[in-house]
């Protein structure tokens, strides 16, 4: 199942890409596929801005002395890195690009339920993004992406209100995407496509949307309070006026912990699709994988205070949150076991998307298990605010979410662009990303466990940390190459890649039953679904076209 199956189509038929040309046909489009591409371009832009900040951080830490940048600049670097990557790359990444493109196609709909709101969400994202860029160029923020009170409300002398408003606006974009997905999945499914026949990608996006809908408004109101606090000195988070800074942390993490699941759940959905396709098997334990997504969304809302074990919270509350944090690991583990069980006795193909999925499996497991270290009250006290935490969440967000995003981009690239990417380069890039990632972040586990604190620009009193920091910086460079490569060959393939057939992977799923690239309304005729999800055994059976599809 590599490229030789692909049958080039002789005549280019009308599709969503060549139907109309011109700037306005893109900027005023309500086609979910075009909006997905608008998002793709915008989030790639922000990904490289965030990556640039990361590179400067790693360069500063190459030597123990604080020599490349000054302390203030360093504070702004890691703050802007975090804000850009979280709010302008990771949260919109898979939902707004792949989700936007695929949710209507996977459920056999012509478009999302509210196409104009979908376009509005992109414009809100762009408005937020422009505000963020302006904020960066005119001084930036130095509080860390968590903008903890009272530093952010009373003391920091940087552009917190502007950055907050940028995140507020981008948050509405996220809410509107989630709202569109929930309504679309409920109301727009093709005849015969019952909930138990939905691809697990859809279940993952449904769960993600629930978190976006119920979590994001809380960060929105928190930002409003921070802005009021700075502008009007209300005192809600100010201990001098009787307010409680801990309340800020509670409100902040009530969104920002579930936000981690906004980033990882769609990635899990992507990986589920890829593993089933490249093992040529029905996913093992369909309903467990489906409901574990919902369980993650629900439990994810009940664990936020594990970010605050050293913040002076009640010990009894901490115990409960520790226990709940262990509980949220259970549905994640269910998924990992089911993916592994799907691989068992599968006919496994090592194409690039599958390599990314394998990378995801290993790195997510590492990130998840170290999360349990942090959920344990005793160990957490030891490693709080060290590089152990930094390494842990990068294993989830970069090793998990970005790996899944890249895997998904490769898997659906033939559908999105109508062209095949160069498989050899793609496998090489997957390998480089995996090696670069581990080289960057594994040393940080060791550094953190030995006690290197995060957010320090100068470690000259602990020169013994330099070796591991040099390794990490070297890894970041490798990782940077690994991320640039796909961008180069994706762009190359848009012009020079071989034309893709409708279903180059011979994959199950409605999105593969229409042309590549799809027509504007996705399907020439409204599909009627009579088969279960992931019917790979039937697809691969000899004379499969003669076998009735119903089981």
């Amino acid at each position: 199942m590599s490229m030789e199956i692909a049958i080039p189509q002789p005549v280019e038929r009308e599709n969503y890409l060549n139907k109309e040309y011109g700037v306005w046909s893109w900027l005023l489009t309500t086609d979910h596929k075009r909006i997905a591409l608008l998002y793709l371009i915008s989030i790639t832009f922000f990904f490289f801005i965030g990556g640039f900040f990361a590179l400067l951080i790693r360069l500063e830490l190459l030597t123990p002395a604080g020599d490349l940048v000054q302390a203030d600049t360093y504070n702004k670097l890691f703050t802007m890195h975090g804000m850009v990557m979280v709010f302008f790359f990771l949260i919109p990444s898979i939902p707004a690009v792949l989700g936007n493109f695929l949710v209507p196609m996977m459920i056999g709909a012509k478009d999302l339920a509210f196409p104009r709101i979908n376009l509005l969400s992109w414009y809100l994202y762009i408005i937020g993004g422009v505000m963020m860029l302006h904020c960066m160029l005119t001084g930036g923020v130095d509080t860390g992406w968590t903008f903890y009170a009272p530093f952010s409300t009373n003391y920091s002398n940087t552009k917190i209100v502007e950055a907050g408003l940028a995140i507020f606006v981008a948050g509405f974009s996220s809410i509107l995407t989630g709202l569109n997905f929930v309504v679309t999945i409920h109301r727009m499914r093709a005849p015969g496509l019952t909930w138990s026949r939905l691809p697990l990608f859809i279940w993952a996006h449904y769960a993600t949307s629930i978190i976006q809908l119920l979590g994001t408004p809380v960060i929105a109101v928190t930002i409003v309070l921070v802005a009021c606090e700075r502008a009007l000195h209300l005192g809600i988070f100010d201990p001098r006026l009787g307010g409680d800074p801990l309340l800020f942390q509670h409100l902040f993490w009530f969104y920002s912990h579930p936000a981690v699941y906004i980033m990882i759940l769609p990635s899990m959905g992507v990986v589920t699709e890829i593993i089933a396709c490249f093992s040529r098997k029905r996913i093992f334990g369909y309903s467990f994988v489906a409901f574990s997504s919902i369980a993650i969304a629900v439990f994810g809302f009940l664990v936020w205070a594990h970010h605050m074990f050293v913040a002076g919270m009640s010990v009894y509350a901490a115990l409960v949150f520790s226990l709940l944090s262990y509980a949220v690991a259970v549905p994640s583990a269910i998924k990992v076991f089911n993916w592994t069980a799907t691989l068992y006795k599968g006919s496994i193909h090592y194409d690039a998307p599958m390599l990314y999925a394998f990378g995801f499996l290993g790195l997510f497991t590492m990130g998840g298990l170290t999360g349990l270290f942090l959920a344990a009250l005793g160990i957490d006290v030891h490693v709080t605010d060290t590089y152990f935490v930094v390494a842990h969440f990068h294993y989830i967000m970069v090793g998990g979410a970005v790996m899944g995003y890249l895997g998904g981009m490769h898997f659906w690239w033939p559908k999105i662009s109508g062209r095949l990417y160069p498989e050899g380069w793609a496998r090489l890039a997957a390998l480089i990303v995996f090696i670069g990632f581990n080289l960057t972040f594994f040393p940080q586990f060791l550094l953190g466990y030995m006690g290197m604190p995060r957010r320090y620009y100068d470690y000259s009193h602990m020169p013994e940390f330099q070796v591991l920091n040099v390794l990490s910086t070297a890894g970041a460079t490798v990782l940077g190459v690994g991320y640039l490569l796909p961008m180069v060959y994706f762009l190359w393939s848009m012009r020079y890649g071989k034309p893709a057939s409708d279903n180059p992977w011979n994959a199950a799923g409605l999105e593969w039953k229409t042309a590549s690239p799809p027509p504007t309304f996705n399907f020439d005729e409204e599909p009627v679904v009579t088969w279960e999800a992931y019917n790979y055994e039937e697809l691969d059976a000899p004379h499969s076209e003669e076998v009735p599809v119903a089981r």
């Binding site: 478009d111 339920a113 309504v183 809380v218 928190t222 209300l234 005192g235 009787g242």
Partner: protein, 236 residues
């Protein structure tokens, strides 16, 4: 669900001008719009939920000070506003019924009355804010809440800082609520415009329905704000 041939037939038959191309039939479109508004209102609940959470914590922490501060607000104005909003909910219900039953004049009238009541609410709110401003109860440099006794304990005075926290919450919560009222008035002026142009029919009046849902929601927020901000510790 009907199969594909039936769906395409329905497309031929029903030339509902408001049916967007990506929906199979008007029923699906109406269901989607209505669900969309309910989901949006769920996000609004979470938005105000953060504020209610902050209120709950500080009310428990500074119980008596909040009582004293609450007593300084004019409950009569608040009660009047509550009555105004409840009446506006009734007019919204009548407006939706009028749209369902093709009573266009009634629909236009009820939308106009709803908007009028909305403006009355905001006017009374402005009077309240003006009073608070003159009494120096707006948080900030000029805030003063000196020697105000705690209800039930005439010998004790409320802590001005903690009272200021009450007023902070009062202004943020009622301010955001008022902002939602302004948005609601914007929605209703569009509804009024579309109703005057005769766009709503018994077959298609989804905007009236979901606009009405939004209006009811903003009312319900007020129904919670009123006792929490005006009526705590009102015993004589």
């Amino acid at each position: 669900m009907p199969d594909s041939t039936v769906v395409s037939l329905q497309h031929e038959e029903q030339h509902c001008p408001e049916l967007l191309h990506h929906f199979a039939d008007p029923q699906q479109q109406r269901d989607a719009s209505s669900l969309g508004m309910w989901v949006f209102l769920a996000t609004e609940v979470m938005f105000f939920g953060g504020l209610f959470c902050a209120y709950l914590i500080y009310r428990l922490k500074f119980f008596a000070d909040f009582g004293a501060a609450s007593k300084s607000i004019d409950a009569t104005l608040g009660a009047t506003n509550t009555a105004v909003l409840i009446c506006s909910s009734l007019t919204v219900v009548v407006a939706v019924w009028a749209a369902q039953t093709a009573r266009r004049t009634l629909l236009i009238g009820m939308l106009a009355v709803t908007m009028l009541l909305g403006f009355v609410f905001l006017g009374i709110k402005a009077v309240e804010y003006k009073d608070k401003f003159e009494e120096h109860h707006v948080p900030g440099a000029s805030f003063s809440f000196d020697r105000v006794p705690i209800p039930g304990h005439p010998d004790q005075y409320a802590n001005p800082q903690h009272a200021q926290l009450f007023f902070s919450l009062y202004f943020v919560m009622t301010g955001l609520h008022a902002l939602h009222m302004v948005v609601g008035l914007g929605i209703f002026s569009w509804l009024l415009y579309a109703a005057r142009k005769g766009r709503f029919t018994p077959e298609w009046h989804t905007p009236v329905e979901i606009g009405g849902l939004y209006w009811h929601f903003v009312d319900i927020i007020w129904i919670y704000l009123f006792p929490l901000l005006y009526l705590i510790d009102r015993h004589p």
